[in-house]
């Protein structure tokens, strides 16, 4: 009797999980289904769930209507070059703040933590004016260069990871007379690969998804990223839902792939810092 009751309860529970999971997945499914319908079908009430005719041609058409190839290339360029910079900055500075014994490191760690709390809104205007003086506005530099010197969150993440490594490693190499650069490059860095992967994934995602930066600094459609380009397209062609959903799918797909292949690094990011990524 008690046996059947627990079975019923866990079956109901499983059903609840399936329903909620479906609710969360439904918008994705709807996005893809819309992207494969004709415009007439989309503007019809009541909506039909499946396309009458699967309009695969929406994708090539969206590519010619919206300069998606250019936007895609710009997004990849900015995200990739920024990620290289983030890896460089976070791995070197994080190393200095954890495994090198020098008196300034505690004070410097506090500056890292404090700047993580600063709202971007406060720095936004002077930074824009600075980049304008440098004639960087309109190009990619304001979106890439800061990653090479100013990534407090990732510096902190790398520092936390370095602290999990045995201290003796660097000390022993030092006693053996190895140079600091060699210790960093050949002894320590190879051990941080999982943390570097986490940093790379989160940095890439951040720049891939970023909207405000491109909105402030990019002025010519030729330089737009996917985020900025799609917003601009929607603003002028607010009814082209099939193309917009096709473009949104293209925009989201790399993120899903990154998640599928790097899933364990996502959880690692949460675990290392104890905070969300």
């Amino acid at each position: 009797m008690a046996q059947t009751r627990t079975t019923v309860v866990s079956a109901l529970f499983a059903l609840l999980l399936v329903v909620i999971g479906a609710v969360f997945a439904a918008p994705f499914v709807w996005m893809v289904l819309t992207s494969l319908q004709s415009l007439q079908q989309v503007f019809h009430f009541p909506p039909s769930l499946l396309p009458h005719v699967w309009e695969w041609i929406n994708y090539p058409r969206a590519l010619t209507t919206i300069p998606l190839r250019t936007y895609f290339r710009n997004s990849v360029t900015i995200a990739a070059l920024s990620t290289v910079g983030t890896l460089f900055c976070a791995s070197t500075v994080g190393y200095s703040l954890s495994l090198v014994r020098w008196p300034g490191r505690t004070a410097l760690l506090w500056t890292v933590l404090a700047t993580m709390m600063l709202p971007f809104a406060v720095k936004m205007i002077p930074l824009f004016l600075l980049y304008m003086k440098l004639h960087w506005v309109g190009g990619f530099a304001p979106l890439i260069v800061p990653s090479y010197i100013d990534v407090p969150y990732f510096i902190f993440l790398m520092r936390q990871f370095y602290l999990t490594l045995p201290r003796e490693l660097a000390e022993a190499a030092r006693v053996d007379g190895a140079g600091e650069l060699r210790i960093f490059w050949s002894v320590i860095l190879p051990l941080t690969r999982p943390a570097l992967a986490t940093v790379a994934i989160f940095s890439f995602l951040f720049h891939w998804n970023d909207f405000m930066g491109p909105l402030i600094y990019l002025t010519h459609p030729r330089t737009f990223t996917l985020a900025l380009g799609l917003q601009a397209f929607q603003n002028t062609h607010s009814t082209q839902w099939t193309y917009l959903m096709a473009a949104a799918t293209v925009f989201t797909l790399p993120v899903i792939l990154l998640f599928a292949f790097g899933q364990r690094y996502f959880t690692q990011g949460i675990a290392i810092t104890g905070i969300k990524g």
Binding site: F13, V42, V100, D150, M245, V255, I275
Partner: protein, 298 residues
Amino acid sequence: MRRRTAMSRRQWLWGLAFAAPWLIGLVVLELYPMVMSAYLSLTQYHVFTAPRWIGLRNYRQLFADPLFWLSLRNTLFMVLVGIPLNLATAFGLANLLNARLRGVAVFRTAVYLPTLMPAVAGTLLWMWLLNPVYGLINWLLSTLGLHGPGWFSSPIWSKPALIVMGVWGVGAPAIIFLAALQGVPEVLYEAARIDGAGRRRRLWHITLPLVSPATLFLVITGIIGTFQLFTSAYVVTGGTGGQDNSLLFTVVYLYQLAFTELRMGYASALAWILFMVILAVSVLTFRATRRLVYYEGG
């Protein structure tokens, strides 16, 4: 002995060398903009002429600016309604995700994926889902005999629409709650069960106190993030603030002032007020919850 000092001096230099990128970044991209922004907030500055010192006039003008107050009210609505709703949903989901059940990993992925979606793509998707005439949501409501609202095109429903969209993205806080739930020792529940504590009392006296540090963390990061709400509102309205300015949030207004009206001094003053509000609300939250948050061994 001499060897030691030589070595520590070398460590000094290497420490500085490895920290050099951040030292530059800290000065050029953090400290300088902070100081500069404070200075600009005391000037009148339209980019093409030199900044003119006007003391506190920008601040006085802001306090008399109805759009400033409106943007603050709009933002506070999102903080006071959106965050509690988000966190309650996230906590509920985390309890479900915590189930020891086959296939629960698929469910976790389904809940987490929306948080990865680019904000612009997600907002466009929800504009389509919430389309007043052809959208999926209003169709679902109509099958229940309800007449769905205009959502983003209605001054009353535009903020609730953003909140609904936000609830879809609660995967990240849900995962953090999940980690906190998994840190609660099972023996506590067993002891409570033996003592005859029911489900509700176990939730109230064990689960909630033990996840309270995670809750506080999520409330604080939620406050900091929500006060800077921008992208979704900008995409929905094309940067205008929407119907009756119902989606004019503080940072949206700040963007308009700085980059469409080029009133850099006035906008800087608004930025500093926003910063102070965020700081004050965060500190107050810390203070008010000090007795409610339970730190193990602390």
